[in-house]
Assembly symmetry: C2
């Protein structure tokens, strides 16, 4: 049944060293759906206003994305404006207008309640719980959140965290949630709530997967960020990461520790492509062949013992 | 012929969250020699004062380290005092007394001029060049430096960089040397001076190896830092990293790209042990078996496709 994703669909104004773009397609759900549709069938649940360009909906549908859960209501679409400094560090928000998103409550169409994989993008944890209450025994659920909800709705967020299989947060959020400056103590704190796995996003330093072990303790996997030389716009990198991860898991249908590791690599690959253009520009034309080529690059980037000669021919050349 | 190392041998006062230690053995050359002696024969070149405890020299000799290049001159030994805050971030220097190190000029004993591997720890680049002028065609030379020399003696440092095969710097220093905030541009800038490889140390984020390619461009390898839960004292982590790297290269005698990658992993392993106690406390009792166990852990930490079942049994367990 593929992936059900719930999250924001919006329009963005973004300024970055590479230029200024106005009214471009944004929102976690847009990034996630576009990327995940390269792997599997995706159903999106969200809300837009009547000002939302029909061409975007047509684009989603053209990629086989089920948009029946995308509500179109009177009013304006969620809007975000932000800019990035020369180092492309964290975005500075200039303006956020919730618009139709303010009164949004997700309604999962009957046809999608049997979704095997559910991704709850970064929205109000109350809405994330509403979604979980509408789906029937998905095989894997995952959740993203942010500092705003840790600050303002920690109790509800805690409940949501306890209901999902995989939690994705960035390093700062993990420590902030646990009120603990030690990353591993903080991770254990979150895993003790119930999730089987925690993915810690570390921006330019990659990502970490911590899976709960029964008798052997927790298992840690780390992947670096792709050494990208052409970062244009970091917006949506985390949502696209989630799409690579969930997409790969859904495509393989396996939940082994190995599959999850490979899925994290697909997350890193997805994120690395997302930042190469504004909005979903790079993802629109992304091919499976390009994904697999970068997967191979990740092996060359991280392996130190064995690697097929054909895959990385420089591996055994002498440097002198 | 093993490794020739030139650098500081000193006494440290260190305060960290785990406690306060006074007059403990310190200096890049001490950390390097102790660790590298687990891999191969090491000859140290440096200087101490007449106050330097004979027991330390006995310890070095007991590990088979050749101390004939360690000058003992009238005066006090190099002294450094520093402390670490609760996050164990960069050390804050309280006091540095060069003492006998102020007038030090390395003299390489005749018996060591044929050294196959030479490591120039972080000292005045003029002294690093003096060493290079005294050795006969080593197979591999490597150099460490720091912000102080980039600031005060950039021209001499540039000359030293152009004379060695491997440069080891931390991320900030790489960007600082190149006056460029882009890490890869900065790396290319340094490799263009002549070195075959650049190792970028990234502290809690691990390390990166960039090797110069002829026709295929540069090759990048990344290793995360070991997810250590018991950091006591970060002093000497970089020097011990260098020892794991050089030690492994010297032990294998190979200079292939693969060997260098494995050597970087050994560097990360070495650094991860060094920080588990004050001074060389952890390294004193470190065994080859422990090193190889951690090497196996690094495979479990970073591999996502293939791994011998025996080495990482959780790898294929389902998480749900």
């Amino acid at each position: 049944m593929g992936i059900l994703v719930v999250g924001s669909v919006g329009l963005d104004d973004i300024e970055a060293p590479a230029g200024l773009r106005s009214g471009i397609l944004g929102g976690a759900c847009s990034y996630f759906s576009t990327m995940a549709s390269l792997y599997t069938k995706v159903s999106m649940v969200g809300v837009v206003g009547t000002d939302f360009p029909q061409e975007h909906i047509g684009f989603f549908q053209g990629r086989g994305i089920d948009t029946r859960g995308l509500q179109i209501v009177d009013g304006k679409t969620f809007f975000w404006s932000g800019y990035y400094g020369p180092n492309l560090d964290d975005a500075i928000t200039r303006d956020t207008q919730l618009n139709v998103f303010a009164d949004f409550h997700p309604v999962i169409p009957n046809s999608q309640r049997e979704a095997e994989f559910v991704f709850l993008a970064n929205i109000d944890p109350e809405l994330q719980i509403e979604v979980l209450e509408q789906v029937n025994a998905p095989r894997l659920t995952a959740l993203d959140s942010m500092n705003f909800w840790i600050d303002s709705k920690k109790d509800v967020l805690t409940q949501a965290l306890s209901m999902v299989d995989v939690v994705m947060l960035n390093e700062t959020e993990v420590k902030m949630y646990a009120s603990n400056n030690n990353l591993f103590d903080s991770a254990r704190h979150i895993l003790a709530l119930g999730p089987k796995a925690l993915i810690i996003k570390r921006g330019e330093h990659g990502a970490m997967l911590i899976t709960r072990g029964e008798d052997r303790g927790h298992s840690v996997f780390m992947v670096p960020a792709y050494p990208s030389e052409s970062v244009v716009d970091p917006t949506g990198a985390g949502d696209t990461f989630a799409a690579g991860f969930m997409g790969y898991v859904a495509k393989t249908g396996e939940l082994s520790s190995q599959t999850l590791r490979q899925a994290v690599v697909h997350g890193a690959i997805a994120g690395s492509f997302a930042v190469e253009d504004f909005s979903i520009g790079r993802l629109r034309c992304l091919t499976w062949k390009e994904i697999m080529a970068r997967y191979s690059e990740f092996r060359c980037l991280t392996y130190f013992d064995t690697l097929p000669e054909s895959e990385c021919q420089v591996f055994r050349q002498s440097i002198l």
